[in-house]
């Protein structure tokens, strides 16, 4: 069975640009969460979606948005990129709550 898949794996953007990251959860998982991991730190929670509704939001500016589709896949969008947005963006899926299964992440570099 496929695990959580994320795309793209790596990308480079410049300040002010927009980025869309994609995530496909494990089959049967209805909850998707997004985390930002800056180098040398633990993951920081951005969003959680369950059944296409936002169920949790971390302390991130409105430049960050997400959505979940009917097939439970998800997108994370970041507008007006800043240098500080450079990080590994992790997607995790779970059945409802409980154990999180993480993808390998999308590494974003903002120049």
């Amino acid at each position: 069975d496929a695990g959580v898949t994320q795309s793209p794996t790596h990308l480079i953007k410049t300040r002010g640009q927009h980025v869309t990251l994609r995530c496909s959860p494990i089959s049967g998982h209805k909850s998707v969460s997004w985390y930002q991991q800056v180098l040398g730190q633990g993951p920081q929670f951005i969003f959680q979606y369950y059944e296409k509704e936002e169920r949790g939001r971390g302390n991130f500016p409105d430049r960050f948005s997400a959505r979940q589709f009917p097939n439970y896949s998800s997108e994370l969008n970041v507008n007006a990129l800043l240098l500080g947005d450079s990080a590994l963006y992790l997607c995790a899926s779970s059945l409802v709550t409980g154990e999180l299964f993480f993808g390998e992440g999308s590494r974003l570099t903002v120049l």
Binding site: S33, Q41, G56, G103
Partner: protein, 111 residues
């Protein structure tokens, strides 16, 4: 605010020795903790969890100890192997549907 943190950022052990990774938490109401392992270039992977009604839980070569009196938990890895080299995070789920991670301890296993 409430936090989950780790005592040491790095730990180096000899192959075959036991490893102990420590974590402190601040919320006395916390009742569930998880240890994750993150290898280079990958997302965090669940290792073991423990609920507050337990003091100890054992898995394959890993043991988690919970001391609620001093709000401390530890992850013990027996007979550490090169494949155990990774960053280890303690984490706890919050009421806001997120997982709060500590900063991580990088374990290096010397051959």
């Amino acid at each position: 605010g409430e936090s989950v943190g780790l005592h040491l950022p790095t730990l180096s052990v000899q192959e075959g020795d036991n490893s102990i990774i420590n974590c402190a938490y601040s919320n006395s109401a916390s009742d569930y903790f998880i240890w994750y392992k993150q290898e280079s270039g990958k997302g965090p992977q669940f290792i073991i969890d423990i609920r507050s009604n337990m003091d100890k839980r054992q898995g394959q070569r890993v043991t988690v100890l919970l001391n609620k009196t001093v709000k401390h938990l530890s992850l013990q890895i027996a007979a550490t192997q090169p494949g155990d080299s990774a960053v280890y995070f303690c984490a706890e789920p919050t009421q806001d549907n997120d997982m709060r991670f500590g900063a991580g301890t990088r374990l290096t296993v010397k051959p």
